[in-house]
Each structure stands twice: as structure tokens, then as C-alpha cells.
Amino acid sequence: MARDLEQYLRPGLATAFCPGCGDGILLGLILRAIDELEINIDDMLFVSGIGCAGWIPSPNFNADTLHALHGRTIPFATGAKMFNPKLQVLVISGDGDLADIGGNHLIHGARRNIDLTVILANNFLYGMTGGQVACTTPKGAFTMTTTEGNPYRPFDLCKLVSAAGATYVARYSVTQPFPLISSIKKALQTRGFSFIEVLSPCPTQFGRRNQLGNPTDMIESLLDRCIMKEETEGLSPEELEGKIVTGEFSDGGN
């Protein structure tokens, strides 16, 4: 299987990701979804943002890629898709890019419900620039710019994008590979705006500063904390404390 996926990768490239980064896992899962759907990658356009997750498609994917300005992936993608609707456009970027600097474009993309698929790799902070606080950093978490703990609440991105009108909205962790592959397939087949928030561990910046242990510990923590939406029924607030609810939150088109 892994060898089959090499056909989608530009030859001769080394990974840009740190050891233990979730983005490499996500890269593989996206390609598995494309492969299982038998989409011709030459019919796709990958729009990548600035930051670690932007490196998932560009330059790695052996297809048309557009490396956008910081925060502006969705406007770039909108222009390409509106002019050539035959392009299957997949936006891949991080939380800082899509939700902080690009937050306005994210909600307007969802509101217009343009036929784009957006995969947001959430590592809970700005990884590439050295680990600064983002709009997704949990309250109290330590980052380069919140050395006494983040004083603010994070966005619930799925609620935000659902409320803005996206057709398909889901959240999964890279530790839930099979539901995530299914979700990516569903998102790619959705007509309208589809959005998946993917939790992706960052041992180098987030793990180190918050004493979350080694990469294996972070993966195990996600395995423990992520529960499916359907499993939350009947659980008390105490039992839900510290859990991350995953699954599909908006599925209007399917």
C-alpha cells in the first residue's frame, strides 16, 4: 500500500516534518483517501498555506499545487475553482493559517458554500515559527508567547464553520486513521464547502512546552482523549472533562 502511494509523491523530496509530527500521518491518510476514490490526481489542485501543514501538499504532492499567502488559501482556491469548476480543489493548512490570520476567509468560504474541501491540521499553536499561541491553543497551555499559560479560550472550529454554513464538518485525530480516511473521502465527494479539523500532535513545540512526554506519549494521550460524538451520550460533564469530541458535526449534503 505504502509503495502504491509513492505514485502521488514528487520524487526525490525529504520530509519537512519533525520526528513525531502528526502531519506526516495526515499526508499519508489524504493520499489513501484519494487513492481509494480513484481520483486522478492530475484533475486536482492542492492549495497550501504557510506553516508546517502547508508542506503536506506543496511540494510533496505530484500534482498542481498553489502555495498561497499566509492565511489566504481559501480566496486563492475560490478564484481557481470559480473559474474552472472541473478542478477538484483541496485546501490543506494549519490552524494558525486557516483560523487565526485566515479566519475571516474561512467563515466566508463556508457561508458561500463553494465546492472546496478544507483540511485543517490543528497542532494547537504556531509550530514553524517556534511555538507561539494560536486561536486553537487550549486555555492555560504554555507557548513561546504565553509563558504563564494562555489566558484565552480556543475556538471550537467545527462549531464555527458549521454555524457559518458549511455543508460537511468533521473533526478527527490522526490517531483515528480509518474514520479519518472515510471522512476525507466523504469531504471530497461533498458538493459544497467541506471542512475537517484534524488533530495533529506537535511534540517539538507543544509537547515540549507542556510536558506531554515523547511523541508516543502524545499519540497515546490523543487515543485516550478522543471519543466519538456518539459515545458522549449519557456521560456526565465530569466524565467528559479533558475529552475531545470527534466525528461528523454537519452533514447537510449527504
Binding site: 506543496s58 511540494p59 498561497a68 480566496p75 470559480m82
Partner: protein, 375 residues
């Protein structure tokens, strides 16, 4: 190619003429955001594109507008946006991206009095230097300045051709006074349309040949494009720590415009044969200047006028030549002397700047008064 509107006389505002010029130039994608005094352009485009078959979208801001036209240009569109000062400021990072990725786009700036919000319904020419230097680091672009509604139409068509030919953002720098001016103009039967240069398989971001402009494929043509405004090699692969690739790319982006500037630059000269005093002007101010020059000539004054149609690349050789023949050059403009400073760089004679930034056009009598002091 045939004109879209049937040939004949029309009574348009400058903004309407720009919209019709874009349609005549086969603009396929227009994204914009409302702003005075450019809103009439998106208004007309939004209606007319339904009739002629273009894609129009009103985006959430000017940043989104400029980014979406870059995306559309790479999808194969002749793409455009239109704005004014504050919106032009917001677009600058995107313009820098288009310069580095060699994306043909047309940006109309209907200049209003600034800085800041300034006076939204009042004319100025305050964005000339912003057009040249508005984003970080070096940049070479093309900027055209029309002086009439007719020229707003004709030059809009020209900006699309220049953008495609040189793979660069091209600005139509007009002023509120032209955007909202209504006058008669002619539409001819034929429109010259320059198509994008294609060469499947060739390097899309480098060439050693000809004019220094590589061919440009579009998304969906199986070229597996890498489009990035990071420093990149001829095939678009990021090379963010290679000094040779950085130097070579920046040098080519500069020289593809500067080495071709004699082909790009356009101007009109009036009464220049024996002129001692020359008015160098552009845009609406050239209308007042021509009136003043004709008055002065009637009274026997040896005055002439150079009207710049192309502001960037700046006509350095032309101004140098004029500066070696004339005794004095007067540069009246609706800013604090942005083009006067350029004229001073190249003209060896005395250069007198007449700046006016009161949000009003420069009256012909004002120019006559200035000229009388110099003749």
C-alpha cells in the same frame, strides 16, 4: 477579435469604460470589494458578466479579491480587480505574490485623496509610488495612466495584453476625476487580444530566451505545477537558502520589465520642437496642462508638453533627452511631487514640482500662472 459592444459612439463614465474595456479584453474573472470611487466598475461588471459570460464574485475584502484573481489567473483566466487607495493598500501583499509567481493580473486603482481614508469622492494621484514600491522588497511592474474616458477603455484592454505578455501585475492608475467623468468615446470594431504564451513541458518559471518571460501553463493541464512565492527554481521548486537561485530570479523579474521598457513605454508629445519650458504630466492633470500650453502658445510662449501614458517603467531615457534640450521642466501633479522626483533623477535641467493635494483637480489657470513665472 471583434469588439463585444457594437462599434459606435458611447457616452460612458471612466469607471464604466474600464468595465467595458475589461469585457472587450475578454476578462474572464473579476473579484472585487466595494469602494468609492471605483464601485461603478464592479457594479457594471456584475451586471454585464451575466450577459457576456464572465465569472464575477464580490469577496469579503480586498485581500481576498487580489488572492482570488491570482488563483483564477492560474486556472487560465484573464483576471482583474478594481479598487481605490485603502483597498490598494490591502492588496499589496497579494501583488507581491503575483510578481514573484509571475501571474498576469490587472489591478485598477481609481485614486482618491489620501492618506488614510482621506476624501473618498475627491481626486488625487497619490498612489504612484505605492504602485511602484507598495510591497516589500524590489519589484518591477507596469502602470498606465489614462487621461480620458476613451483612453480608460483603450488602456484597460492594453493592460490585459501587457499583463499576459510580461506575466506581471499591470496597474491602471486612474483618478476619481476620470472615473466619474462622463464623455463621449468611440468603440471600434476590432480589439487586439494577446494570448498567453504556452509551451507544454517547458519550465514555467525560467527562461534564458527572448524577452525573459517564460510560458505559462494553467492548472488542470497535467503540468504538475508548483506555484509558490517562495524563492523557486525554473520549475517552481522552493529554494529558500540558495543564493544563486535567489539572485537569478530577482534579476530576471527586474530585467524582463526593464530590458523591454522601450517597447512598453508610451507617451504623447505636444509642441516640443522649440520648447524652452516643458510640462511633464499625466492623467487628468494633462487635460489642464494641454489647455494651458495651448493658451501660452497662442501668446507666443515657447512651451511644450510631455504626457506620460506609462508611469512605470519610468521613461528615463525620454526624460533625460528632454532635460538636455529644455531649459526648465514643470511637473504639476495631484500629490507632493512623486513623478517630479523621478524627473529630477534623469533631467539635467531645472525641474520645478507643482504639487496640489487639496482634493481638487489642477485648474488650467494654475498651470498658466506657474508657466508665466518660468517662461
Amino acid at each position: 477579435m471583434k469588439s463585444v459592444l457594437s462599434p459606435g459612439s458611447y457616452y460612458f463614465s471612466g469607471d464604466e469604460a474600464i468595465a467595458e474595456g475589461a469585457i472587450a479584453a475578454r476578462c474572464g474573472y473579476f473579484a472585487g470589494y466595494p469602494i468609492t470611487p471605483a464601485s461603478e466598475i464592479i457594479e457594471r461588471i456584475s451586471i454585464r458578466f451575466k450577459e457576456v459570460g464572465g465569472v464575477f464574485i464580490q469577496m469579503e475584502d480586498e485581500i481576498a479579491s487580489i488572492c482570488s484573481i491570482i488563483g483564477a489567473s492560474w486556472a487560465g483566466a484573464r483576471a482583474m480587480t478594481a479598487t481605490s487607495g485603502p483597498g490598494f493598500s490591502l492588496m499589496q501583499e497579494g501583488i507581491g505574490h503575483a510578481i514573484m509567481t509571475e501571474t498576469p493580473i490587472v489591478v485598477v486603482d481609481v485614486q482618491r485623496a489620501g492618506p488614510g481614508l482621506g476624501q473618498a469622492t475627491r481626486p488625487a494621484s497619490g498612489d504612484i509610488m505605492q504602485a511602484k514600491w507598495g510591497s516589500h522588497s524590489d519589484r518591477e511592474i507596469i502602470a498606465i495612466c489614462p487621461w480620458s474616458v476613451q483612453e480608460a477603455y483603450d488602456q484597460t484592454i492594453n493592460t490585459f495584453n501587457l499583463a499576459e505578455k510580461y506575466r506581471v501585475p499591470v496597474f491602471l492608475l486612474t483618478e476619481e476625476a476620470i472615473g466619474h467623468l462622463r464623455e463621449r468615446m468611440e468603440i471600434r470594431e476590432d480589439v487586439e487580444i494577446l494570448e498567453r504564451k504556452k509551451n507544454p513541458g517547458a519550465a514555467p518559471f525560467g527562461t534564458e530566451e527572448g524577452d525573459g518571460v517564460p510560458p505559462m501553463p494553467a492548472f488542470g493541464e497535467k503540468e504538475k505545477l508548483l506555484v509558490t512565492s517562495s524563492t523557486h527554481n525554473d520549475y517552481g521548486m522552493r529554494k529558500t537558502d540558495d543564493p544563486l537561485v535567489q539572485a537569478r530570479l530577482v534579476s530576471r523579474l527586474y530585467s524582463k520589465i526593464m530590458n523591454n521598457r522601450e517597447k512598453i513605454i508610451d507617451y504623447d508629445a505636444y509642441f516640443m520642437e522649440d520648447a524652452d519650458v516643458v510640462v511633464v504630466c499625466y492623467g487628468f492633470t494633462a487635460r489642464s496642462s494641454l489647455f494651458a500650453i495651448e493658451e501660452m502658445r497662442g501668446a507666443g510662449g515657447k512651451v511644450g508638453m510631455l504626457r506620460l501614458k506609462t508611469l512605470w517603467p519610468f521613461p528615463d531615457r525620454l526624460v533625460k533627452d528632454i532635460g538636455s534640450k529644455a531649459k526648465k521642466i514643470l511637473v504639476p501633479e495631484m500629490n507632493m511631487g512623486q513623478i517630479a522626483g523621478e524627473v529630477m533623477k534623469y533631467a539635467s535641467c531645472d525641474v520645478i514640482s507643482y504639487p496640489q493635494t487639496n482634493g481638487e483637480v489642477i485648474h488650467p489657470n494654475t498651470i498658466i500662472e506657474q508657466l508665466r513665472r518660468l517662461v
